[in-house]
């Protein structure tokens, strides 16, 4: 069963990205690209050749591979709604956070390795904002662990139920808001970063991958889709009924679509924040999560 979930995640991840893009198009009054467009893009990129900069060492070739490998490892750790994760043990969300951290680290190294000053700037920003998003992520996880009494990501997400929501409404609401902000920051979405812009001075994630091409770029794009899928799966699992009843899977997938639409609505209704304001947003997320944890300890 869990392996079906693995295949489902790997296959459907780009679809979530295209749901976001499609919803944004509809909100803006356009028709938008077909829902399978990300798959077309990936196949097209895979058939292309690769160009490497003369000044680069091997790191720029290594980084997309390692990044994708690391994210595939993350898929194993995250439960897909009612279907349990393949691998779970207590404290596995720490592994998840640092696997994602490792993917980010290697992407930054790859960006620095191209020798372009713009990519170095992007890497620096990515490092700074990731450092601020990480405590917020850990505090949300600690808060969830405290509320549910479970210790692995799988158990936390599968035990959380309406009883918890009734008893700890303020804490869970704070955690949901904090996690959503972390979700936007980790996936480089508006208001932290704009995934559609290509103006070097304001970009964070896109600027780091400017010099990648062909299959390398395909791997990076697929990694982006996987990451947004994984974090959306964690976020959606907060709201589905507990247990391992497979009948809840359609509801869970509908929730994932709803999260995609929520992201699209956020992106359509607000502009990217000025870079100087981004730390404030992430620190607020950290404070929200910390406050939730604090509330649980006081009660």
């Amino acid at each position: 069963m869990s392996f079906i979930a693995l295949i489902l995640s790997l296959a459907l991840a780009p679809l979530l990205l295209s749901i976001i893009n499609r919803s944004k198009a509809v909100i803006a009054g356009r028709r938008g690209a077909p829902l399978l467009q990300p798959y077309f893009n990936l196949t097209r990129l895979l058939q292309k050749g690769v160009v490497y900069s003369d000044v680069s060492s091997g790191l720029v070739q290594l980084s997309p591979v390692v990044n994708l490998a690391v994210l595939c490892c993350c898929v194993v750790l995250v439960p897909l709604g009612p279907i349990p994760a393949i691998l779970h043990f207590s404290g596995d969300f720490i592994l998840l956070a640092y696997l994602m951290g490792m993917g980010r680290f290697i992407t930054m190294l790859g960006a620095l390795d191209t020798g372009s000053s713009f990519e170095g700037m992007g890497a620096s920003r990515e490092a700074f904002f990731a450092a601020l998003a990480e405590p917020a992520f850990f505090l949300t996880m600690a808060g969830l662990a405290r509320i549910t009494g479970a210790q692995s990501l799988n158990d936390i997400l599968q035990t959380i139920n309406s009883e918890h929501w009734l008893h700890a409404t303020p804490s869970l609401l704070l955690i949901a808001v904090a996690f959503f902000l972390v979700f936007l920051a980790e996936n480089a979405r508006i208001p932290i970063d704009d995934p559609t812009t290509h103006l070097e001075l304001t970009m964070i994630h896109e600027v780091m991958i400017l010099d990648h091409s062909g299959p390398d770029l395909a791997m990076i794009e697929y990694g982006v889709a996987l990451k947004i899928w994984l974090l959306a799966a964690i976020f959606a699992a907060l709201f589905v009924p507990p247990g391992t009843n497979v009948l809840w899977l359609p509801l869970f997938l509908l929730l994932m679509v709803a999260i995609g639409m929520l992201v699209a609505m956020v992106e359509s209704s607000m502009a990217r924040l000025r870079l100087i304001r981004v730390p404030q947003l992430l620190i607020s997320a950290g404070v929200f999560a910390g406050l939730a944890l604090f509330l649980e300890f006081v009660q």
Partner: protein, 212 residues
């Protein structure tokens, strides 16, 4: 279990943190008004049985803090033509973090206070937190209006502490405090108007030039 009381206290914490992290003055004024209304409701759902005195005190506090103060301050804002707090002495991120640690500190502090009677330590902790927030706003902001807000938050904290141990403090003291605050805000509003007319700004750090 979630009760109305815990929801009110939760609102109190949230308004404090919002004040520490936001720069728009009009928004801050409204937040302080919300905080005032929340605190006005606390004695009604508090620990003591409901009395006419409590009801009257709540009513006065809500009308004063939720209605008259914001009206006066928003008027002051229009007159002084300031919109936002620019470059406070302590930045918004740092003051938000300080606020969070102050919250934890005040809970630890309140749990160790040698209190007589069965007081709710959480309310006392949050009262101390509110007072410290007010103090932080007072010392770290640049605009005169922010200082008035800091003063109001400080007073909110004192009021909250008063309601937490209300059976020890006569009601007449509470009413006296409310009256004092009213006069103070009135006075500060007029002072702000005069300062603005005289110097074309209300930045308190530049007011050192007043000493001739």
């Amino acid at each position: 279990m979630l009760t109305l009381m815990s929801l009110l206290l939760f609102m109190l914490v949230l308004t404090n943190l919002t004040l520490l992290g936001s720069s728009r003055l009009a928004f801050c004024i409204r937040t302080v008004a919300v905080q005032g209304v929340v605190l006005g409701l606390v004695p009604l759902f508090g620990l003591q049985p409901f009395t006419l005195q409590h009801g009257l005190l709540s009513l006065c506090a809500i009308i004063l803090k939720g209605g008259i103060f914001p009206w006066l301050l928003l008027r002051g804002l229009r007159v002084a033509r300031v919109k936002r707090e620019v470059e406070p002495f302590i930045g918004f991120n740092v003051s938000l973090s300080i606020g969070f640690f102050t919250l934890i500190g005040s809970v630890i502090f309140a749990s160790r206070l040698p209190l007589t009677g069965n007081n709710n330590t959480l309310i006392i902790a949050l009262a101390i937190f509110t007072m410290l927030t007010g103090l932080l706003l007072l010392v770290s902001r640049r605009k005169a209006l922010s200082m008035v807000l800091g003063y109001l938050v400080l007073e909110n904290g004192i009021y909250c502490l008063g309601t937490a141990v209300a059976d020890h403090i006569p009601m007449v003291v509470e009413f006296g405090v409310l009256l004092d605050v009213w006069v103070a805000v009135f006075g500060m509003g007029i002072a702000m108007y005069q300062i603005n007319r005289e110097f074309d700004h209300t930045d308190v750090d530049r007011l050192t030039e007043l000493r001739g």
